[in-house]
Symmetry: C3
């Protein structure tokens, strides 16, 4: 079992992760050692800089009694920099008796290529502008936790929808739930790609594109804000797409603001105190969901 693309997730699989994530939270909060992943071994091979995703995977492994091996900057130090193919890299890692390989890479489809060559389970921890499936599980779990269900939710996705892998992953995953409404709020030239829209249509998700966050804000249960990823060389003036007190004042009382983090200025700091600010809870959930995922993948029941 590889985790590559949220389109692969069944509703049943996701529900199972949500239930398990809650148990994982209890384990973490109990501060008691766990041996659920005793003697299991993970490698994290990150070709693209990331502290948080890597650390939360390593902590997930460690908190469940497993071992991890780490390459924080594989692009610089690894065999890849000498011209090795991903297939060769995987074939070598396979020889090391690992139980799971976590990969991040700047290239779309990298994890899928790795998975095709691999007998060891692969987790895509982000591949270019393509997918970030564990982030989507975290996002969904956060909604599930808040609202008790995901069916019927109205979600606004805000920002550079054309290039944000977390947005793509989340849209595809939401399509597996019932009666979902998605507002796609972005500048015209940063609209989400057609393959996502086609997928939503096919799965009977009602969606609407807009460049007016103020109009959308009162309508939704979730505003999912994103950062302008300057490291991808693309940006726009985001003043019309920022979450601030004004936007908060328009939102429903029970709605929440989410963000995969890190945040720069697209959510103003004074939003943090509002009980609807859910992005730090969402980040915390990252640990529980990754623990749940690793347990699901590595422990046969």
């Amino acid at each position: 079992m590889h985790i590559i693309d949220t389109r692969q997730f069944s509703r049943e699989f996701m529900d199972k992760i949500f239930v398990l994530a809650e148990k994982m939270r209890q384990i973490v909060l109990s501060r008691q050692p766990s041996i659920i992943l005793k003697n299991k071994k993970m490698i994290a091979l990150f070709h693209e800089p990331s502290t948080r995703t890597r650390l939360s995977f390593e902590m997930a492994m460690s908190y469940l009694g497993g071992h991890f091996f780490s390459t924080p900057n594989a692009s610089e130090s690894s065999s890849a920099s000498k011209g090795e193919t991903v297939e060769d890299t995987i074939k070598v890692l396979q020889g090391y008796a690992l139980d799971v390989i976590v990969l991040r890479h700047h290239e779309d489809g990298f994890a899928a290529r790795a998975a095709q060559a691999s007998l060891v389970p692969i987790i895509n921890a982000g591949d270019g502008k393509n997918q970030h499936p564990t982030q989507a599980l975290i996002d969904l779990y956060t909604m599930q936790e808040k609202f008790g269900k995901i069916d019927g939710l109205r979600v606004a996705m805000v920002g550079d929808l054309a290039h944000y892998r977390s947005i793509r992953s989340l849209c595809f995953a939401l399509a597996k739930f019932k009666k979902i409404t998605i507002y796609l709020v972005s500048p015209v030239s940063f609209r989400i790609k057609d393959d996502v829209k086609n997928y939503l249509t096919k799965h009977e998700v009602w969606f609407l594109e807009s460049d007016n966050l103020q109009k959308v804000a009162p309508l939704v249960d979730v505003i999912y804000q994103t950062r302008i990823q300057k490291e991808r060389g693309i940006h726009f003036d985001n003043t019309d797409f920022m979450i601030n007190k004004k936007i908060l004042s328009l939102m429903k009382k029970e709605a929440i603001v989410m963000h995969p983090l890190p945040r720069v200025d697209e959510i103003s700091l004074d939003v943090d105190e509002d009980p609807r600010a859910y992005y730090f809870k969402q980040a915390e959930n990252g640990l529980y969901v990754r623990m749940a995922l690793l347990k699901t993948m590595l422990v046969r029941e």
Copy 2:
């Protein structure tokens, strides 16, 4: 409890660390496993390159049965490089059930800002040209170990006193002891900053500024030598401020030479064989003192 600035240390706290560091040495030398920090979790987030400080913290944690998570080059790989504030970074890390966060950063006051945002204990492992409090504890423990007490010692600080955080931290900490004399030996334009001098005066530490190491050498119990930190873009001709056989010949028989290391040419290699060369013992003490500090912070008595 955060460890940010040596001005926060009470005499009682420091004495406690010294006693505990001695016990930690016994644990290490026994080579028996310890479970003192069992199930405790540390993250080391280093925005400024450093091997030694990071490794000795990680070893301290591990030798006491705890776990550590590591980011050797956070500036390159972390969310900070994408524009995240330290407050956000801390709020996210807080969600990961960590017991302590060790931070190094090139910015003065970084650790203090982090501490203000943090419910998890923060250890400042060096912030810009400001403070390096654990180094000061190591330095003091080394003096305590050698002389049996710190009260009454005469200490010469040598080198770029204007920009060296270990010097600042040590001066502030020494001020908590009695009858301390400090000789501040540097080129005129690299004299220690006024806030340190004011603090020493206020705490009745007798100090003297000098640019003549040869005159000071016979007078002191400790020469604390420092490296010219070329990575900070500032340097001077250090020939008049080097420790060599000539300086050794002027020093008291029972005096010692200390250095936070790494050393370049400011202590000549032939000094190493002299029994007064204490810098490698000092480095070793780094492990014991950091173990003592972590135990003090993480284990409630």
Copy 3:
């Protein structure tokens, strides 16, 4: 005991490693925890980028119940970058109660210098264009495993023989076995250095230099292929020195193709399916051999 240069290996030592590596394989494949290196501590200090060698050492340590501390990019982050000598680095690390120090460095002779300063066992994990002794042990174990013995083997070394440390290490090590024949296949200006040839002559190894892989291929039991190390700034047109189906068709049925990996284009991908392609098995053996070596060095019988 340091591991610096394959010339130091006795036949008895190597035979012992081979027997032990086989036991290590059983431990890994059993997927049961081992406590053979319980409470043992390794540091991996890599001044030159490398993922694989570092990870396999860390895994070797961990799979046997030991602890490791890691510096993936020591050149950037360590005291060395501030001008510290290797002797000082070693003296400091010695104070940390480590059981073994694994070093990689771009400088020939670095590990030998470290070893001279060190009371703690040093393993050379590659020093410039000089030596890579653990790779040689892996290579020999792979031959031993395949052929049941190394005495009498005919081995072709192919590629940039002038600058490849694995080639040097392997040639020196093969000289300790009986009736070895080595074909040194390279462009004329990339021939192996005289000190290797003199050593082979002195140890009665029959060798022949050639630039014709097709002529050599049918004669040998092992083709040991290497990559053009562009990171060393030296290269040549390798079309005449590539392993492909054509070369395979010339080889003996029982011969094998080895490569220290990573591979770029010097072995074509369609060779992988041939049962004589042994380079991924060889990479896997890296884990077992390093486990065997660490056990031999750290556990007194």
